[in-house]
């Protein structure tokens, strides 16, 4: 599973989590600011634990974050962090095989074959550069030596499968009542989580320490294929996935956030098990991992089990390197224009601040003023001007850097360009006009609600702790509210002026690809002058609305007949238009006819 840093709608809400109690209208006993009581301890090897007790629960939701994301990769191994996440479910020296000795031998033999295949791919890429083949990896371009190696490899896979206890890791948890088991990878972190029945707490320690310190990279290459399918699913087969990926690469010039978490397809083809092992040694050392448990447990017991199970590993030989490349300041606005099978839409993205920056809170409040059913964007673009079906912004503070993005989808005849201009107008109002005190208050009131709502679900609380720790500081869960509360009108205006200069814009305009729209220009209209086309289109629309309200077939028949008469009298260039009008009426007639017998229960 891959997750972009946006996580979930509920986490986005968190971004607004200011708490102001006395501002609510009616007199009431003021609820105090929500605080999560977290107990923290760290093992000698550097692994940190965060505990939150929920004595009323029957379960423990538990997980851990490895402080490694796709921004720790480099060209050539993009996608490795996420592929590694998949590998963590494939077993260990203990789980997943009936014969570990032979299993390890097979893996070694497989690796030798794959190394030879990678050398062949070096040659295949050279042939591709010379224009001799169209795709270095396609089955159709396979050389005889590669085919032979693939055959030998498949034989080893078959032998290995006969020794395997398939997906035993999953099975052990499942039969013990584990649920919601999954993981996600983003640019900054890899997070693993599960909920277990409270009496099976020790199983969690057994299983997680086993895969942290006893892992075997089994079925590495078939899992690489699964990830390639995941890429097809999320990026290549969705309406906007490919263009979103292109846009990310445009936004980030020097910073590694520019490449996709799932990786470039050519890298996925050649990533090696050895590269994965090196990654594991450096980034999965206990000093780079934080665990969290939320649920029904005895903290004393947790500490003992933590030392017993996770204390087995020693600190990594080298500390994981920091991401040192900083985004270079953007010098000029950039624009991506794409055509897709999609609703026309507009995104404008600015680079702002990373996690924990003092301006992040004011940017969150700015987003709060813009968003929601009573936010400025919905009121202006959706309700008043009716040029958008949705419009919102988002401040996304990632670990090393952050962005602020506006996004809206068009309505009716509106264009992506209009939405872009509308956003600049709303931004200007914030920059130049006073912000009513009551409006600011509303944002803070709403965050009072969400500051409690985000604590309702223990599993969601677990994810928040892990994500904030992954970003750099779990205490954010308890400090965010107060710091957002402190934001003033002046703060909002200052950040609105500082981060949104015209040369800092990255603009993506998506247009519906011709031929996919229902409102595409019918060929009959193509011959008309452009100004006439619009007129006819409006007439078509009006007739459609008129006809939709008529349920009497006789009336529709009468309209059809009328059309014939008018057609006969129309100038020649309009003759072809009338069948379009007639078609609308005929469709309505067909619809009424279809509805009639079905009402009697026939299919």
């Amino acid at each position: 599973m891959i997750q972009r840093p946006c996580l979930s709608p509920r986490l986005v809400l968190l971004a607004l989590a200011a708490v102001i109690v006395p501002v609510l209208p009616a007199a009431q006993a003021a609820p105090t600011q929500a605080q999560v009581p977290v107990e923290v301890f760290t093992l000698d090897n550097g692994m940190k634990f965060l505990l939150v007790q929920k004595p009323e629960a029957t379960t423990v939701s538990a997980g851990w974050v490895a402080h490694v994301g796709s921004s720790n990769e480099r060209p050539g191994i993009t996608g490795l962090t996420h592929l590694f996440e998949h590998m963590m479910f494939k077993g260990s020296h203990t789980l997943g095989t009936k014969d570990i000795t032979r299993d390890l031998q097979i893996i070694e033999e497989q690796e030798k074959l794959q190394e030879k295949i990678r050398r062949i791919y070096d040659e295949q890429r050279a042939r591709w550069r010379r224009g001799e083949i169209d795709d270095p990896f396609a089955a159709a371009n396979r050389t005889a030596p590669e085919a032979e190696l693939q055959k030998q490899f498949q034989a080893l896979v078959d032998e290995q499968r006969s020794l395997m206890i398939k997906d035993e890791f999953d099975k052990v948890y499942t039969e013990a009542g584990g649920s919601s088991m999954n993981a996600f990878t983003n640019q900054d972190m890899t997070v693993y989580f599960i909920t277990v029945p409270a009496n099976k707490l020790e199983l969690w320690f057994w299983m997680e320490s086993d895969r942290l310190y006893n892992l075997v990279l089994r079925e590495f290459y078939s899992e690489r294929d699964v990830v390639t399918e995941e890429r097809r699913l999320r990026t290549e087969s969705t309406p906007t996935g490919k263009y979103d990926e292109l846009f990310e690469a445009l936004v980030w010039q020097s910073h590694p956030y520019g490449w996709p978490v799932i990786g470039w397809p050519s890298d996925l083809k050649v990533i090696s098990k050895e590269q994965a092992e090196e990654y594991y040694r450096v980034h999965y050392a206990p000093n780079n991992v934080t665990a969290a448990l939320v649920g029904n447990f005895d903290p004393k017991l947790v500490k003992e089990l933590a030392a017993k199970y996770f204390g087995r590993a020693s600190r990594g030989a080298v500390d994981p390197p920091s991401v040192v490349t900083m985004e270079i300041p953007q010098l000029a606005a950039q624009k991506l224009t794409a055509e897709c099978d999609c609703q026309p839409e507009t995104t404008v993205t600015y680079k702002t601040v990373g996690f924990g920056h003092k301006d992040g809170f004011a940017l969150d409040v700015l987003a709060g003023l813009m968003n929601g059913r009573t936010g400025r964007l919905y009121k202006s673009l959706v309700l008043d001007r009716k040029i958008a079906t949705s419009a919102n912004v988002r401040q996304n503070s990632q670990k090393w850097a952050g962005t602020f993005s506006f996004n809206a989808e068009t309505k009716g005849e509106a264009t992506p360009d209009q939405l872009e201009q509308a956003w600049y107008g709303e931004l200007k109002k914030i920059q130049e006009e006073p912000i009513p005190a009551e409006e600011l208050q509303k944002v803070k009131n709403q965050t009072l609600g969400s500051s409690f709502r985000r604590l309702e679900n223990p599993f969601f609380l677990l994810i928040q702790l892990l994500v904030f720790d992954g970003l750099g500081d779990w205490t954010h869960v308890n400090t965010w509210t107060a710091r957002t509360l402190a934001v003033t009108e002046a703060d909002v205006k200052r950040v609105a002026r500082e981060y949104f200069a015209p040369e800092k814009r990255n603009i993506a305009l998506y247009y519906r690809k011709a031929g996919t729209a229902s409102e595409e220009v019918p060929p009959e209209l193509a011959e008309l002058p452009a100004e006439m086309q619009g007129m006819v289109k409006n007439q078509l629309k009006a007739i459609r609305q008129q006809v939709a309200a008529i349920s009497d077939p006789a009336q529709l028949q009468q309209m059809l007949a009328g059309m014939e008469t008018r057609k006969a009298q129309a100038p020649p260039q309009f003759q072809k238009i009338f069948p379009l009008f007639q078609k609308i009426i005929e469709e309505r007639l067909a619809q009424l006819a279809a509805a009639a017998p079905a009402a009697g229960g026939a299919q």
């Binding site: 209208p25 009323e56 029957t58 398939k166 099975k171 690489r224 699964v226 609703q343 299919q603």
Partner: protein, 498 residues
């Protein structure tokens, strides 16, 4: 007061055994771990059940740990009561109750007030039910409840907001063919229930534009009434307080007109399945696939042992993630798909649907389908292993307490039972009924309820590449029948294109 907490008896609180285990050596395999018992007593519905003077059942589960109150009102105003010439009426009325102003407040005032109170208010209508809901800060409960009851009893259906909503729905319709998954979902629903049943039929531009403000107001007056309602309340409120507030507001509500004739249970689809291989063209690198047929339906008492055996059967076949056979073969062994598995639907009002699903690169479509259908045949022809059976049953039984994991979950679960007519005994006997399922039961229900020879095989993707197949495999897509190409539908009229 937190009644549901008292029901959890955790043996681990004794602690003695665990302290010992923390010093004992680490077992070589997790099967050697020893656990204390987790005794979980199913909450009794009657402890949460109350009744208003007008007869409406209310389920209340207090929990004072956070200053929040949740209220949901269930009502029989779903699409099943709307007339066929007014497709989408129930759904539009359900949506516009929240969005079109209510009582003394215009839509603008209502929205501002709700946001200022930090009250989350929702209204919605699906196929067989409609709901209004409130999540409010307990300190703001009364003004928030006033908003809830205003939209429940006196929605304004403001014309300008109806126009905005219709416009947005029209834009959403335009996107009907953009995403292959949404094409597959729509066509699958039609293949299973037909195009005219209220559970699967879709609005068109014509049907949408024909709906008027008067239609919405009439529909609300006729169907949004106290008769047939069920209410759930949870969170920071005592039952007495909750009941007093509800009684006062219902006393002030005088619905107009006669009690409507609501058909209950809702009518089944009148559709007979046409097995075959169906394809819809879309230029994407993957094929999106659904294969299946009709599922099963609960008996009125919810005790037919076949249904429990079916749950276990499907878990082993393709419903249990990596411990299930289709997922193992298609994803884990062969790396053909990111998600692959099966669902077996046991319906409340009509039979659900059995469906195998996966998405794979076009060339692998036939091979992945052959692997999946081979598993259907295998689970019919051979008994499952004792190990697979135990894993599936344990998983259901061990995760069972999570159904009741919060006050909100308990109140909503019992309210849902009341609404659909599921007896409380279902939960009391749930673990026993699952525990009784044997290898023989699994094979028996697989033979009785699965028929790999009579499936609807529906795929969306690039036919040319799907037909070519994988040069390394023998399976061909045409092995599964004579392909019938289904036309894409015009997104606004749903008439076949071309």
């Amino acid at each position: 007061m937190k009644p549901y907490r008292a029901l959890v008896v955790l043996a681990l609180l004794a602690g003695a055994w665990f302290t010992a285990s923390a010093t004992a050596p680490i077992p070589a395999h997790p099967r050697d771990l020893k656990y204390g018992p987790l005794t979980f007593e199913v909450p009794k519905a009657d402890k949460y059940q109350f009744k208003l003077k007008n007869g409406i059942p209310v389920y209340i589960a207090p929990d004072h740990s956070l200053p929040l109150v949740d209220i949901t009102i269930w009502i029989r105003a779903g699409a099943f009561v709307e007339p066929l010439e007014k497709i989408g009426l129930a759904g539009m009325a359900g949506t516009m109750m929240r969005r079109g102003g209510a009582g003394p407040w215009t839509a603008e005032q209502f929205d501002e007030r709700a946001d200022f109170l930090a009250a989350n208010l929702t209204s919605f209508a699906g196929a067989t039910e409609a709901q209004v809901g409130l999540n409010a800060l307990s300190g703001q409960l009364d003004p928030s409840l006033d908003l809830l009851f205003a939209m429940l009893t006196q929605p304004r259906f403001q014309q300008d907001r109806i126009d905005v909503e219709k416009g947005n729905m029209l834009e959403a319709m335009k996107q009907r063919n953009d995403d292959a998954d949404s094409i597959l979902r729509r066509e699958w629903a039609w293949k299973m229930a037909g195009e005219n049943h209220y559970s699967s039929r879709q609005p068109t531009q014509g049907s949408l534009e024909a709906l008027t403000r008067q239609d919405l107001a009439d529909f609300h007056r006729k169907f949004w009434r106290p008769e047939g309602m069920v209410i759930s309340v949870s969170g920071d409120i005592a039952p007495k307080e909750a009941l007093a507030r509800l009684e006062a507001r219902f006393a002030a509500w005088k619905p107009e007109g006669p009690k409507p004739a609501v058909p209950w249970p809702p009518a089944k689809p009148a559709h007979s399945l046409e097995p075959g291989l169906y394809h819809i063209e879309k230029d994407i690198p993957q094929a999106k696939v659904s294969i299946g047929h009709q599922g099963a339906q609960w008996d009125p008492k919810y005790e037919n042992p076949d249904m429990f055996a079916l749950m276990v059967m499907n878990d082993i076949l393709g419903g249990g993630g990596f411990t299930s056979r289709i997922t193992k073969r298609v994803r884990s062994d062969e790396g053909l798909a990111y998600s692959a598995g099966s669902q077996f639907g046991v319906g409340t009002y009509w039979p659900g649907t059995f469906r195998i699903f996966f998405q794979t690169k076009s060339a692998s479509t036939a091979y992945a389908a052959s692997l999946s259908l081979a598993e259907v045949k295998r689970i019919r022809n051979e008994a499952v292993s004792a190990d697979e059976l135990a894993t599936a049953k344990n998983s259901f039984i061990e995760t069972f307490p999570r159904q009741f994991e919060s006050a909100g979950a308990i109140a909503d679960l019992f309210a849902a039972d009341e609404y659909i007519g599921r007896p409380h005994a279902y939960w009391l006997k749930y673990r026993d009924n699952l525990g009784k399922v044997t290898e023989k039961d699994v094979q028996r229900v697989a033979q009785r309820y699965l028929d790999p020879g009579k499936v609807v095989f529906l795929l969306v993707g690039k036919w040319e590449d799907i037909l070519k197949g994988d040069p390394d495999r023998t399976a061909k897509i045409t092995d599964f029948g004579t392909p019938v190409q289904l036309p894409l539908r015009d997104p606004l009229t749903l008439q076949p294109l071309k």
